[in-house]
C-alpha cells in the first residue's frame, strides 16, 4: 500500500508542468474581443527574448510590450495579417512560431515527410525480399519429414514429448522440496 503511494507521488513528480506553462497572460484591457484576437494571434508568435515561449505565454517585459504594440495596431484597425506582417518586417520570420514555406525552409517542412517515405520504401523492400526468399535447397526430404513429425508430436502428450517430460520433471522437483 505504502509502496503504491510512493509510486503515485513519484509519477506526479515526473509529470511535466503542463498546466502552468500555457496559461495566457491576464488581459489588461476591457475589450474582450480584442483580447481574444490578441491571444489567438500571440499563440503563433515567438517571444524574441525567451525563444522557446510563444508571445501569449511569456511574461518577459519585451513580450508585454509587444502585446501592447499589437493591441495598439489592432485598435488602429489593422487586420491580423497586417499585424503579423509588420512584426515580421522588424524581427524577421524568426518571430513566427510556424515558419513560412519558402525555398529556405523546404528541407524543414519536407524533411519529415521525406524520412517517412524513405522508411516506408525500406520496409516494403524488406518485406518483398523476405516473401520472395527461396527455401533452402539442401534440406533432405527425410529431414523435413522428421521436422513435421516433431512439430505434430508437440501437440499430443504421448510419453517422451517435451511437454509431458517437462511436467514430470516439475513434479519430481516439487517432491524433492
Amino acid at each position: 500500500m505504502r509502496y503504491r503511494l510512493r509510486l503515485l507521488v513519484l509519477a506526479f513528480c515526473l509529470l511535466p508542468g503542463w498546466g502552468t506553462a500555457s496559461l495566457p497572460a491576464a488581459p489588461n484591457t476591457d475589450d474582450p474581443v480584442l483580447e481574444a484576437r490578441l491571444n489567438h494571434l500571440a499563440e503563433d508568435l515567438r517571444c524574441v527574448v525567451c525563444q522557446n515561449e510563444s508571445l501569449a505565454e511569456s511574461r518577459a517585459s519585451l513580450a508585454l510590450d509587444l502585446r501592447e504594440e499589437i493591441r495598439e495596431m489592432m485598435r488602429a484597425g489593422m487586420s491580423d495579417d497586417a499585424v503579423v506582417e509588420s512584426l515580421v518586417a522588424r524581427y524577421g520570420d524568426f518571430v513566427l512560431y510556424r515558419p513560412p514555406v519558402k525555398p529556405l525552409t523546404y528541407v524543414l517542412w519536407g524533411g519529415p515527410l521525406a524520412f517517412l517515405l524513405i522508411g516506408i520504401a525500406l520496409a516494403l523492400a524488406t518485406l518483398h525480399r523476405r516473401r520472395t526468399l527461396r527455401p533452402q535447397a539442401d534440406v533432405s526430404p527425410e529431414a523435413l519429414r522428421e521436422a513435421a513429425r516433431l512439430l505434430r508430436s508437440d501437440h499430443s502428450s504421448h510419453p517422451g514429448s517435451p511437454i509431458a517430460s517437462g511436467r514430470a520433471s516439475r513434479l519430481s522437483h516439487q517432491e524433492e522440496r
Binding site: 524574441v48 525563444q51 509587444l66 504594440e69 518586417a89 522588424r90 524581427y91 524577421g92 524568426f94
Partner: protein
C-alpha cells in the same frame, strides 16, 4: 560496405550537431538591414526640452546604440566606445526602458559616449527597430538606410572587423 552506412550517417549528424554548438540563438538576422531606419522624435536624456529625430542627421553616416542603465554590458561598452570611435562617426544612444530614471545621472557621472541619448521610456521605438537585447548597434547611412545591425557589445576586434570597413565604404 553496407555495415559502414550507420556509422556514416552518425558522422554526418555529428558534424551538424557540432557546428550547431557554435550558433548563437541571440544572433537573429535583422530584416531591417537595407531598409530605412524607423523615424521617431524623442526627448533627449538630461537635456529638458530638447528632442532628437533621425531626420536631423540625414546626409550623415551615424550609429544608433541601444542601451539601458540596467545593462552592465552596455556600461562596460560606454567605457571603451569613445576610444574606438575616435570621432570617426557620431554615435547616438537610444535609452531603452529607463523606468527608474537613472540614465541622466548615470551619463552625467560616467561621461556620455553619445552626441545625444534619447529616452525610449516605454520601449516602443526599440520595438520598431526590432531590438531584442542590449546592447545593439545600428549603422545608418547618408540616405537614412540601416546598413548593419550588431548584437552585443562592440569590442575592439568587432570594431576593426565589422565597423571600420563598412564606415570607410559608407563615408567615402
Amino acid at each position: 560496405m553496407r555495415r559502414w552506412i550507420p556509422l556514416l550517417v552518425f558522422a554526418v549528424l555529428g558534424v551538424f550537431l557540432y557546428l550547431g554548438l557554435y550558433l548563437n540563438p541571440k544572433e537573429v538576422p535583422s530584416p531591417l538591414v537595407g531598409r530605412p531606419a524607423p523615424d521617431f522624435t524623442l526627448p533627449v536624456v538630461g537635456r529638458p526640452g530638447e528632442t532628437f529625430s533621425p531626420s536631423e542627421v540625414r546626409g550623415e553616416v551615424w550609429l544608433l546604440n541601444i542601451w539601458a542603465p540596467w545593462c552592465s554590458v552596455c556600461l562596460e561598452e560606454h567605457r571603451h566606445l569613445p576610444r574606438m570611435v575616435a570621432d570617426r562617426v557620431p554615435v547616438y544612444g537610444l535609452t531603452w526602458k529607463d523606468l527608474d530614471r537613472e540614465a541622466a545621472p548615470l551619463l552625467a557621472r560616467n561621461g556620455s559616449p553619445y552626441v545625444a541619448a534619447v529616452d525610449d521610456h516605454d520601449g516602443r521605438i526599440a520595438i520598431r527597430y526590432g531590438v531584442t537585447v542590449t546592447p545593439e548597434t545600428f549603422v545608418i547611412d547618408r540616405e537614412g538606410m540601416i546598413r548593419m545591425k550588431h548584437v552585443g557589445p562592440i569590442t575592439p576586434a568587432v570594431w576593426e572587423k565589422k565597423f571600420e570597413p563598412l564606415l570607410r565604404e559608407l563615408q567615402s
